[in-house]
């Protein structure tokens, strides 16, 4: 049997009241408290495991389902083509334009620019992204990527969100992995035309 009631006779108390370990005796949780705590523990971890079984995150409960799929060698990923005022272009990851953990940056781009139809929100966020990149780029920290940085004297004037098809079986060390196809799904230009495709 796991739990036992703790016996406390009055005789024992009178004998041990002055003993330095007396306080420790008083610390013993009652059997009911122990059982309640154990039951709460089991319920809590069952809730956590259920999130894993159903593959859902329901904050603050977490399924810890990171990387839980087999990624095909031919797959598509989101990249950002940043446009400079001198006509130049930089291809970066979503994490390089948002000061968030890289995985949250990807999700946010998908939700705001891919799933949502709220054009005004897209423009507002795009404007904020460019303003932040040009005025106050952030450093890298852990899972937050370093902000893209325009060359000295230049500034960003727009960006395209691109869906790149990549074939990882073609990977060669030291060589850039070139996309096999590119699809632009959103474009933004500072103070000029904005295009959703």
């Amino acid at each position: 049997m796991i739990f036992h009631a703790y016996s406390r006779s009055s005789a024992s108390f009178s004998l041990c009241a002055d003993h330095p370990r007396f306080v420790n005796i008083m610390n013993q949780l009652s059997q009911r408290k122990r059982e309640t705590l154990t039951a709460l523990l089991v319920i809590f971890f069952c809730a956590q495991l259920l999130h894993t079984l159903f593959n859902v995150n329901n904050w603050p409960f977490c399924s810890y389902n990171m990387f839980n799929f087999v990624t095909p060698l031919q797959t598509k990923i989101i990249r950002v083509a940043l446009h400079l005022d001198d006509g130049g272009q930089q291809l970066v990851a979503p994490g390089n334009i948002l000061p968030l953990e890289f995985f949250k940056a990807n999700s946010l781009i998908v939700n705001v620019y891919g799933v949502s139809a709220d054009e005004r929100r897209k423009e507002q966020l795009s404007e904020m992204i460019l303003r932040r990149l040009n005025s106050d780029p952030w450093p890298a920290f852990d899972e937050t990527y370093r902000a893209a940085r325009a060359p000295h004297g230049s500034k960003y004037v727009g960006f395209d969100l691109v869906l790149n098809a990549e074939d990882y079986s073609q990977y060669k060390y030291g060589e850039e992995l070139r996309p096999t196809a590119q699809t632009v799904f959103y474009s933004y230009r500072d103070g000029a035309e904005k295009t959703g495709r």
Binding site: Y6, N27, Q28, Q48, L49, P60, F67, R121
Partner: protein
Amino acid sequence: VDSKQTSQAGYEGGAAEFLFNQPNACQRLSLARIFLAVICLVQVLFGAYDRFYAETSEILFSPGFPFYFFPPLGKGFYLLKAVTILSAVALGLGLKTRSANVVLAGSFLLLNFYVSYFGASTWSYNTHLNFFLIALCFADSSRHYSLDKLLNRPRRAALRPVGQETASFVLSFMQIYVAVLYLQSGVSKLLYGGMGWYLGGQTLFVFTIRGGTSFGLYLAQYPWVFKLLAVGTGIFEFGFFFLCFYRKAHKLLAVAATVFHLSVWLTMGISFWFLWLLLPALFWLKSGEPTPRPLLSRQG
């Protein structure tokens, strides 16, 4: 004698022994308190709790479970951050420990909730910090390594029971959380990736090329390495859970987890530091005086 005393306390090994009689629980919990506070502090100061959340709250914040009516904070985000930072400093130092613990648990809970509902899926892999801080509120973590102890501050706390068993339970909760976390990660891969996830290593290979480190990109020349890493991941994730309940294996688990996370960091650039920095306090350290046993017997 020892087994007799254990029996008198009602542990008798097994689950009760594991949950309520961790050796030096108060001391280890005090150390865990410091690590928790430092991790929260570093995350909020240098991590992704950026002013982005203050500037975009009107267009991106959309509250959900469990605070459906939480308003967009705007510049109030800075206030929430400030409270979190100050309480983390106080908790780390052990100054007004109990109060600091409650304030940090509350403010960091709100802060983490807030940043998890910004136009993205509610991905948040550091909620163990929230649960641990809440659990810590129920134990006295000021008895070691604290200014409160140094200044002989906690007059009221001194009148309260030491709470060795409560401290042990909170410590066990944290240990089991870590073990279940790895189990969840393993089960999730098995359910949704299948055995192919572990035998192929393809996911690790692709994500290393996508966002990995220079060393990871070098290793990607040899895809078989990622098969080994995937098998190792499986052994670690499932093994950790089952070995967690054997105290003799705890030091081994602390080393294994550190090696695992360092390997992932060196190849894929994902450190998960906010979890494994807690492991020494939770799994490694047992030194110091043994837990005093109760003197009373059933016979008196």
